[in-house]
Subunit: 134 residues, 2 copies
DNA sequence: CTAATTCCTGTAGCGGCTACAGGATCAAGA
DNA sequence: TCTTGATCCTGTAGCCGCTACAGGAATTAG
């Protein structure tokens, strides 16, 4: 059983973030010591690492909550129950990432044009003019 | 001189957002009617449109503030003063957009792998296992 | 003159943290 | 044993860029 600081070190999730996850109901409150300090077991730390990986993949906390709900823990192991559901969440996430990429690509192109015009400019700044003109 | 609702309609910036911009100091407070209602002139509405375009290009409000500061208004016209500065801000923004795109592309690939493994799976969900395994 | 609309200020919420303040408790060294 | 410093606790407020109220005042249309 590890205190929160060590759980943070082992999982890579900041102490304040762990407490935040607990506060918002993403994670169950762990066991407590006699004096009220949080104590994490192996599974608790695994769950933290899982959340961290999911965050790294861009999942919002609400989706991660759903993912965690699809898992069942027993004798120190964590199993998936409904693989199709997991995949569906992953695919939704991927679609959203793709949409954001497309948005940003357009944006990059628009910025590029703005800058390019600006580079070739003589006289007053065309970029600003373009931003301002009606 | 137009009230805020019409300024919103003409600029495409929501009423509450206009007030928010003013509150945070992004925009100067406009003239007021005798009863205290905001009144926007042509330049005020141009500025709103400019902010909207910049937001559309992903500029954070802080950068937009800098961009607005680079402009000088006189007799209903708005001119750039330092084109190089404008371009620098634009280029910084483009770099950040590019960095985000690269991040998201990696992310998309990682998600794709996760989903692909999941699709070929037999037995317990490999995606969830991968997310959980130490 | 009334009723609907618009406007005002002020405050709180979203997501996902981060950063305190102010106190309790614990572990290691002298 | 005492002390020091690290760690922990709760609670609150801040970040960004809005959005959504509440509760009231003013304007406008019929």
């Amino acid at each position: 059983m590890h205190p929160i600081g060590e759980a943070a070190r082992r999982s890579g999730v900041h102490v304040e973030t762990i407490r935040y996850y607990e506060r918002t109901g993403l994670l169950p409150g762990p066991a407590r010591s006699a004096s009220g300090r949080r104590l994490y077991d192996k599974d608790g730390i695994s769950r933290l690492r899982c959340v961290r990986r999911c965050r790294g993949l861009g999942f919002p906390l609400s989706e991660i909550k759903a993912l965690l709900a699809l898992s069942i823990e027993g004798d120190g192991e964590i199993h998936a129950t409904a693989c199709a559901d997991v995949r569906a969440i992953g695919e939704r996430q991927r679609r959203q990432v793709r949409a954001k990429i497309d948005d940003l690509l357009e944006l990059e192109a628009a910025l590029g044009m703005l800058i390019e015009e600006c580079r070739e400019a003589r006289g007053s700044c065309p970029a600003l003019r373009q931003l301002f003109d009606d």
